[in-house]
């Protein structure tokens, strides 16, 4: 809480440096770069379960993660009055994990007991309001002890003549490196695995995300989303154990390509004057045999013009990959094998609520603190796993 307060003070100082207003009654738009908004998001995630992939599908999945992201959005207009948006974000996660701790089989003492992930990103978009189109580009990076990821993206959008529909395409490439950290009993040379450099394995993801958003009438808008994703390279995780039916232990071994096809539809409907229905459905299929249905409904209710409460419920049903089997079931005849229960057949429920404040004069009298949102969610799988997550979002403008 102290960190959030100090961050808030720092952000307010930063906001005081912002340049002059971009618009006035004459329609004049300043071309100076200015801060549009700053978002500070903090979340705490905690899970428990008894199917850890590190220990071959048995053992504690106890994990906690604290995530903080700072997102600064800047805008400016060029000579042709095209709007340029720069979005700079940096995130830091710190987790402790009971299952990762078992890579070295020394509870609460191994290097893998906890880790910190840092993930900065920078995105730029340019919107031409007169023509109704836009382009964008982005760079992202993510780093943790055993995993690095570099991402590049480009996007294009085009609005319909009546500005009621918009097509968007985003192409993304992710180049990841996984450190080949084997479970301690599978390492050669008898070393503990600490203080050494590990060989790297490459993983590449190419994705095209297409979407069409459309205003249907004064109260309803919908969006159709479809992704085409091709992954190649080392798609297993080297420290996930798999125990065969002869009690021998192996590293997880999965195909080196994976083709994913998720398609979704989202709709928002304003019912009456106070209630909004936000619905989402997704169907997913991939070349490993995973199939899933996701349905989500959120119902924000406006208690007054400045406060809304939004209960939500999400249902997820998954048919697992053909390469999954529980502890001690795989045989030497299997070409590929995993005991990661995240790839098994299961159903999950995610239920919770959020509350959002947007007072005219700022929160607690702080003019620049324009919005605060707190969300809590409880997640359960029908395979003995559950989690809780609480998130706080503060917006300054």
């Amino acid at each position: 809480m102290k960190r959030i307060f100090l961050s808030a003070i720092a952000l307010m100082s930063l906001l005081n440096l912002r340049a002059q207003s971009t618009g006035d009654s004459t329609g004049f738009k300043s071309r100076k770069l200015k801060i549009d908004e700053i978002n500070l998001v903090s979340s705490y995630y905690s899970q428990s379960g008894e199917h850890a992939a590190v220990t071959g599908g048995i053992g504690s999945q106890k994990l906690s993660d604290i995530a903080n992201t700072l997102d600064i959005k800047l805008i400016s207009y060029d000579k042709k009055l095209r709007k340029h948006t720069f979005d700079a974000e940096v995130g830091i996660d710190h987790y402790t994990s009971a299952s990762s701790d078992r890579i070295d089989l020394k509870a609460n003492s191994s290097a893998s007991h906890s880790d910190t992930r840092i993930y900065p990103s920078l995105n730029w978009t340019m919107e031409n309001n007169r023509k109704g189109n836009g382009i964008g580009a982005g760079l992202s990076y993510s780093s943790e002890f055993d995993y690095q990821s570099l991402g590049v993206s480009g996007s294009f959008s085009k609005k319909t003549h009546d500005r009621n529909g918009e097509f968007n395409i985003r192409l993304q490439a992710l180049f990841d490196q996984v450190s080949d950290i084997k479970p301690v009993e599978l390492r050669t040379g008898g070393n503990s695995g600490e203080d050494e450099s590990y060989p790297k394995q490459n993983r590449r993801t190419l994705a095209a995300a297409l979407s069409w958003s459309q205003i249907v009438n004064e109260r309803l808008q919908v969006a159709l989303m479809a992704d085409v994703v091709q992954q190649s390279g080392f798609l297993s995780l080297p420290f996930y154990r798999v125990y065969f039916n002869d009690a021998s232990v192996h590293q997880e071994y999965l195909p080196d390509t994976r083709f994913k096809l998720p398609v979704g539809i989202r709709a928002s409907y304003f019912m009456g004057d106070k209630v909004i229905l936000r619905g989402y459905y997704r169907y997913y299929a991939d070349s490993w045999g995973v199939r899933s249905h996701t349905a989500n409904l959120e119902v924000p209710v406006k208690l007054n013009p400045f406060v809304s409460v939004a209960p939500f419920y999400r249902f997820y049903s998954q048919t697992g990959t053909r390469y999954f089997a529980p502890y001690g079931v795989h045989t030497a005849a299997n070409d590929y094998y995993t005991s990661n229960y995240d790839l098994s057949t299961f159903q999950s429920h995610f239920v919770g609520a959020g509350i959002r404040w947007t007072p005219l004069k700022g929160i607690a009298g702080i003019q620049k603190l324009s919005m605060a949102e707190i969300r809590y969610g409880h997640y359960t799988k029908n395979i003995a796993m559950n989690a809780n997550i609480v998130t706080l979002n503060l917006r300054f403008r």
């Binding site: 993660d65 992201t69 997102d71 987790y95 990762s100 993930y119 992202s140 993510s142 943790e144 055993d146 995993y147 500005r163 009621n164 993304q172 992710l174 990841d176 996984v178 993983r203 993801t205 995300a209 069409w212 205003i215 249907v216 009438n217 004064e218 808008q221 159709l224 479809a226 992704d227 992954q231 995780l237 420290f239 994913k260 998720p262 398609v263 979704g264 539809i265 989202r266 928002s268 304003f270 909004i276 997704r282 169907y283 997913y284 299929a285 991939d286 490993w288 995973v290 199939r291 924000p300 997820y316 998954q318 995240d342 959002r356 949102e373 969300r375 997640y379 796993m385 989690a387 997550i389």
Partner: protein
Amino acid sequence: MKTHLNKYVLFVAGSLLLTLAACTTVKEYQKNKLNDAEMSLGNRKAEKTELNFQSYREGSSGANGGKNGGGCGCN
């Protein structure tokens, strides 16, 4: 996979046709309800960490404006 590709194309085409058939043109001054922050078709900032953990704890991801890869999520 081919059967699923066919379903996929049918779903997109069917949804697109149904949506377009029901549309009326809405002028800028008629968009006060559509412009409400709660009506957003995108994910809110506070949902991002939820989407992250779901993509790690489930075998599916994508078609939600979230990420398609990057980061380990292996614990």
